[in-house]
Symmetry: C2
Subunit: 414 residues, 2 copies
């Protein structure tokens, strides 16, 4: 049968764009939802069930997903097998901070398999952060080679990152400028590497796996704001797509103008959200000299001081101005607050809502709901890994075979 192809496409040649697109669609669905029955996949994709059958077979033979026995839910009709993302497909995540570099291993489906926090004596340079990451990855190497297929490394950096070339333009708190971290880590670790702004990745992670997953924000209009010791970062998802901008710098909501005559910000302007709303001021008032967001939340919750109340109110007002702007501009479904911004909101949940209701424009204000972030300390790992999963998800069949697995022959015809 099947006459020898005259000279057709190269052996590794990509299949039809249509096929690639459908495989990508299925893989992404399984990745995002964790588990889905074949019947659900059929409905969600709109594809024919025979087509889904073929495609899932293809993905299974590639080792990207596996099927398990139907859960036996009380449904009429033949039970549909469940499709799971293969835990052996994984991405590495790297997140440099002022006091540590965290390296993680995240498998398809967004499950954090491993997380190693490497504390540093002082703020790491880009080279140091890369070396630390590369060393930890080297240590994991034999395990990775034996049991995983790594799609790549994603790096979440607190600063402006050009997503196209992986160069950190400026990370003020780390003191990095024009560091080509993606290339550096790629060379040092031996895996393809990409880098992006941490809050942008946080936004994606919260949308897919966190606060946005259950809500109507699943439609894809979400604003994520994270308040940390070093400032406020933001990420925006519009119509399902992360807002990147011309070079991937988009999303810097921390430098929204909120006050005339405010003090100068390190960014060069005055009156930025980040200078008016800061964790350190709250820490001082709460009488904490050190500690993290959790400590702060406890201290503020127990405080009965008027000064604390005033400052909380003040900061909520400025945060409200920034959110009002953002709501008018983006008309989001959801606003997700993380870090101490989540704390602020939790202290007076009605406050921000009221500000939006009264100050934002009627239409958009009615829709935006404020949530607290849900992913906690796994957020950066999941977000960074997503960066490395993205190219894989766009062409799932393009990945090499799983180690220790005999790749199934493509021909099932005959």
């Amino acid at each position: 049968m099947m006459p020898p192809r005259t000279q057709a496409s190269a052996p590794t040649g990509e299949p039809d764009p249509s096929r690639r697109n459908n495989l990508s669609l299925l893989t992404s669905l399984v990745h995002h939802h964790g588990v889905l029955s074949r019947a659900q996949l059929t409905r969600q994709t709109g594809l024919n069930r025979s087509t889904v059958g073929t495609l899932i077979g293809h993905l299974t033979s590639l080792g990207l997903v596996y099927e398990s026995a139907p859960s036996g839910e009380g449904q009429v009709g033949r039970p549909s097998p469940e499709v799971h993302p293969s835990p052996s497909i994984a991405a590495l995540a790297v997140n440099p901070e002022v006091d540590a570099v965290t390296i993680g291993l995240v498998s398809l489906g967004g499950k954090v398999q491993k997380k190693i926090r490497f504390e540093t004596e002082r703020i790491p340079s880009a080279r140091e952060a890369v070396n630390i990451a590369a060393a930890v990855i080297a240590g994991m190497r034999s395990e990775l080679d034996a049991s995983y297929r790594i799609t790549g490394v994603g790096m979440a950096v607190p600063g402006l990152v050009n997503r196209d070339d992986g160069v950190v333009r400026h990370a003020p708190h780390l003191g990095w400028r024009n560091e080509p971290v993606a290339r550096m880590l790629s060379e040092a670790a031996g895996y393809p590497c990409q880098a992006a702004n941490d809050a942008s990745l946080g936004a994606e992670a919260e949308l897919i796996f966190g606060a946005g997953a259950g809500t109507s924000a699943g439609q894809g209009n979400l604003i994520y704001l994270n308040g940390g010791a070093s400032g406020i970062g933001g990420g925006i998802i519009a119509d399902g797509q992360l807002l990147r901008g011309a070079s991937g710098y988009a999303g810097e909501l921390g430098h929204t103008f909120v006050r005339s005559g405010g003090s100068a910000c390190h960014c060069g302007a005055t009156g930025c959200l980040e200078t008016e709303v800061s964790q350190s001021r709250l820490m001082e008032l709460a009488g904490l000299s050190s500690g993290d967001t959790a400590d702060l939340e406890e201290a503020l919750g127990n405080s009965r001081s008027a000064a604390v109340d005033d400052e909380v109110g003040r900061q909520l007002t400025y945060l409200g101005i920034a959110l009002r702007n953002a709501v008018n501009i983006f008309n989001p479904d959801a606003i997700v607050l993380d870090g101490f911004l989540g704390t602020l909101h939790a202290l007076a949940p009605a406050s921000l809502d009221a500000i939006l209701r009264s100050q934002a424009m009627d239409g958009p204000a009615g829709q935006a709901k404020i949530y607290r972030a849900a992913l906690g300390s796994d957020l950066m790992m999941i977000g960074a890994a997503e960066l490395a999963f993205t190219p894989f998800l766009a062409d799932p069949a393009g990945l090499g075979p799983t180690p220790g697995t005999i790749p199934a022959p493509a021909s099932r015809t005959g």
Copy 2:
């Protein structure tokens, strides 16, 4: 040959998604560029030249494009015929304003064939605007039926418009609230109708046919700001897509916070860009009691008054704050200023640039270039028409046949 199809897809049944997608791609390219040779289409789409041949043949037989003799440019090789958008494919555009309702006919390729400005004694109600538009369209009806295929009607409304259902949520200057204008006009005019915010449509029009067409903003990161007698409207295009938000309300840059303690805005907040930067203040200072943007520009250009200079400087400062925010958030390639904002910028071209350079963050500031709008009075017509073209462009083959044209039989096999 070809056995009678068992029962295959319904006669009007849509073809393969792949085919639809490719037809859409080609039609959009031709629409946006006006003229393209087949060879250029082949390169830009990445499709095979035989495929492009088939597809163009299909589009030609549908009457959507036509080919003309090669321009005979000095190129080696066989000349490639030029593909033009058919001028008989057209959309209707409607733009209600405080003092007039303008109705236009725009053909594929963005050419305004006809524009009728119907001045009103007083601010038109939604019903009046719809009736005026329907009456003008009815008057054109025989001509339309004879020579055009109308893809639909697009309405550009100065206010918050829910794009999904075509309901005007609030158009403050027209005094409209919750008016289902799309449905009203659709019923009155007998064509499918959609509505959207005027500045959003302006952003699309400027990106495709105006200031964004030649520049790197063709990549798709553009901010459009229009200043008119009644306020400031904004539209944002991110990564090639118009920012819509959860309900299509996105883009309201006119209500960016720019000043603490500013006066109250009709939107409910204080310190909005729109209240601080206004055409009427400039008109007063320039000694104009009435007139349009052109009059204002002339008066300001000739003025030597210090009060005028101060006010221009003051407004530029506030505009700069709003632009600084927008640049930090969107990292655009281009900022397009229209109306009196274009005038302000033209009066002191270095001013806004300097503000961005010093106040916006390093990365994004370096890329954003400020342009003046290029489409002038055709802008709203082109933008509104684009709204009606969009569904057509997504499925060009779905449109009915051209009047007076015998539809080519689908079968060319035999």
